[in-house]
């Protein structure tokens, strides 16, 4: 379907891309400076500044936790617990470090702890699973989009955590390889290797799923034409 003519439509989202012009860099610098200011105020005990930090990062923290646990309630618990930990440790936080990396490392650690605990007493009742599916449908109003997201999540869940986590941080949350390496406390080359492996695993499963759906559609069409 695609030809070389469609190739210039590139997704230039990476940090090594060429789209980041002067205005983009300036905006990033401004955001960083505003965040540093918020962090300084939060360190001084300003609850309003801390509230703004929570509001700013809540969505990403929540979905990061969800991508480990695939459970809405637990994701909420984890994200909240992570912010409580952030509040406790914010006085000792080094402002020269990247706050997002620090926060998501805490979120991931709490999420992985919760996941291990859940896996130990693994018995998710059927009611709970149905409740989760209903909750997902309620969250995503557009049913078609919901179906795609659901399929992507199903495929992602089949990937080992070791590969899934860097993949979601890089390709979904849009972090750089350096940031992912800092969060996971592994080297740059390890992240690149895991990303490649994760993308390949995801692609194989996704392609199989797409082919299966295409065959099912074809059968349906054949059935309706006869």
């Amino acid at each position: 379907m695609s030809t070389a003519g469609s190739l210039p439509i590139r997704l230039l989202t990476g940090t090594h891309g060429v789209t980041e012009g002067v205005t983009g860099t300036d905006r990033k610098a401004e955001e960083k400076s505003a965040e540093s200011d918020l962090l300084r105020r939060a360190q001084a005990g300003d609850p309003e500044a801390f509230g703004q930090i929570v509001t700013k990062h809540w969505k990403r923290a929540y979905w990061t936790a969800y991508d480990v646990l695939y459970d809405y309630d637990r994701a909420q618990d984890v994200a909240q617990e992570a912010f409580v930990k952030v509040h406790r440790a914010i006085h000792s936080y080094d402002l020269s470090r990247d706050f997002a990396s620090w926060l998501y490392r805490i979120v991931l650690n709490v999420a992985i702890d919760h996941k291990r605990k859940r896996d130990r007493d693994r018995s998710v009742p059927t009611d709970k699973i149905n409740e989760m599916v209903d909750a997902r449908r309620a969250v995503v109003e557009d049913q078609e989009r919901a179906a795609t997201i659901e399929q992507v999540e199903v495929v992602l869940q089949q990937l080992p955590e070791k590969y899934r986590v860097p993949l979601t941080l890089k390709d979904i949350d849009g972090m750089s390889v350096d940031e992912v390496a800092a969060i996971l406390d592994v080297s740059y080359s390890t992240v690149r290797w895991r990303l490649h492996k994760a993308r390949r695993l995801f692609r194989d499963k996704w392609t199989r799923l797409a082919q299966r759906d295409a065959r099912a559609d074809e059968k349906k069409r054949e059935g309706s034409s006869t």
């Binding site: 929570v54 409580v84 605990k117 969250v139 995503v140 390709d171 993308r199 390949r200 392609t207």
Partner: protein
Amino acid sequence: MRDRKLESRLEEYVTGDLDTAEAAELETRLAADPAARALHDEVRAAHEALVSLRDRPQPPVAADEALAHIQRAIASNVFSGKPRLELQSSATRFYRRLAVAAVLLCGMSLGLVIHSQFVAPDAGDRTGTPHATPASTPSDADREFFVITDGVSALDWLDQSGGNLVTLTPTDSIIPIFSETSGR
């Protein structure tokens, strides 16, 4: 056979992680190589599916509501002076259970100590052996040490029902409780 290097390049291409020169080089190859183009389509389709998760909506719990929970949790820590999280987490339940188990364990240990202090000297009764009358009743001061002769363990002695349990007094004089000898 998979071309790992090409796969890797294509992944970085669709995520925008290649620099201009590398991207141009790859585009030249894609224009000339149908197999590479087919792989590119596959890589792009998977990537586009994956990035659909970027459009995920706001979480079911709004940031304001979550913030209220977080602030309550922080406040309860500050005012109660103890690390109590109001997060309905299973961690809280686990520590509560751990505390109950620790209290029960302490209670049982205390019970055992009390039992050994006041009941152990009569343990011979459990063997079914007729309780021999000691030659003389040891005083409280005498009940400081209990030893079993010829190196057998307490359980062995109970099984044999014929051991020679003696009491070592603070003055090192040995007072036999039972007059029978083990024969071992």
